[in-house]
Symmetry: C2
């Protein structure tokens, strides 16, 4: 059993390379050769880690989700009150939005996948699942905040969660295209949260 290498870390390295390529040039810029170059490996290595390009792209989609999740967790941990449900909700929302260069790159990749998901059933199903998880998280936090009295009573957590997902998508597009600035987006976000508070 010779020449054993850490496949998983190499897969992540390649995924990170593809992520960068998509962030800079869209899905069309994601070619196996460029990915191999950027990851510092040969094409043969890429082909050994991923049987087809489609599998690679699905892995990159998961990699994107992991990146966003990690960013959000970091934000929450750095907040003054990491255990507070409203803090968690606010930091999650702010962490998803493209408010700095890193999150802009993530959002560009997200948008590229969203466009592809609209014409690719398999990717669409994957994305639908991701959205459902996000909405469930939002609903969980909203319900907890309402029960603890931090949010108004009588809110429908699922409806509010869906609204928040819709808002983040809209704001992300507007931030990327440049019609919203990070400052103006924060105003919208804060206003939305204020409207929920008791």
């Amino acid at each position: 059993m010779p020449r054993v290498v850490d496949h998983e870390s190499r897969r992540r390295r390649i995924a990170a390379a593809v992520f960068g390529l998509i962030a800079e040039g869209g899905l069309e810029a994601a070619t196996l050769r460029e990915a191999a170059d950027r990851a510092g490996v040969s094409m043969g290595a890429v082909q050994r880690c991923f049987a087809t390009k489609e599998q690679l792209m699905l892995f990159v989609h998961d990699y994107l989700n992991a990146q966003v999740t990690a960013r959000v967790q970091t934000r929450i941990d750095a907040a003054p009150d990491p255990g507070d449900t409203v803090t968690m909700l606010a930091e999650t929302l702010a962490g998803i939005l493209p408010l700095d260069e890193d999150s802009r790159a993530e959002s560009r990749v997200w948008l590229a996948f969203a466009a592809q998901a609209a014409v690719d059933p398999a990717l669409g199903e994957l994305q639908r699942r991701s959205y459902r998880e996000l909405a469930a998280l939002f609903a969980l936090l909203v319900r907890a905040a309402a029960e603890s009295g931090r949010f108004r009573a009588g809110l429908d957590p699922d409806v509010v969660a869906a609204d928040l997902v819709t808002m983040t998508d809209g704001l992300s597009v507007q931030l990327l295209v440049g019609l919203h600035t990070p400052d103006s987006a924060r105003v919208v976000l804060d206003a939305r949260l204020d409207a929920l508070r008791a």
Copy 2:
């Protein structure tokens, strides 16, 4: 001056073909050969009408805007009270959203261009201009509705217009991905309009 043909109508025919290709398979499916086939012309004709593929894509972007505008105008004309500002606003919003198969196709193409615009400055500028026009129209209608007493006084038309643009983008994405249904999207839209009424 022989062999004179109607260039403009041929350009629209080709644009319509590319539009269909993008709606079905994303930007990657938009190739000159497929476009020529679908439009029922030869590649030579396509090359005569558009010097490069980039010019063709920019034309398709304008074609998309024209399609949406025409749909919205049709909706307004068919409404019971075409002259009412609130009616115009409501029909414009509903016309933009992917609520039926035709508008879903338009929204898929819009999303494909939005993703490309995030990594292509020229297309980004074009899209920014389109968004500004839309926001200006919304602001105009909101201001008129507020002055005529149909909407609450004290609304900032520009802020409301930006919010409406953001909402339509978010709803469009959620409708395309399948987390919102046409019915649930209409509920959100109606609620947003109700919140503006006096």
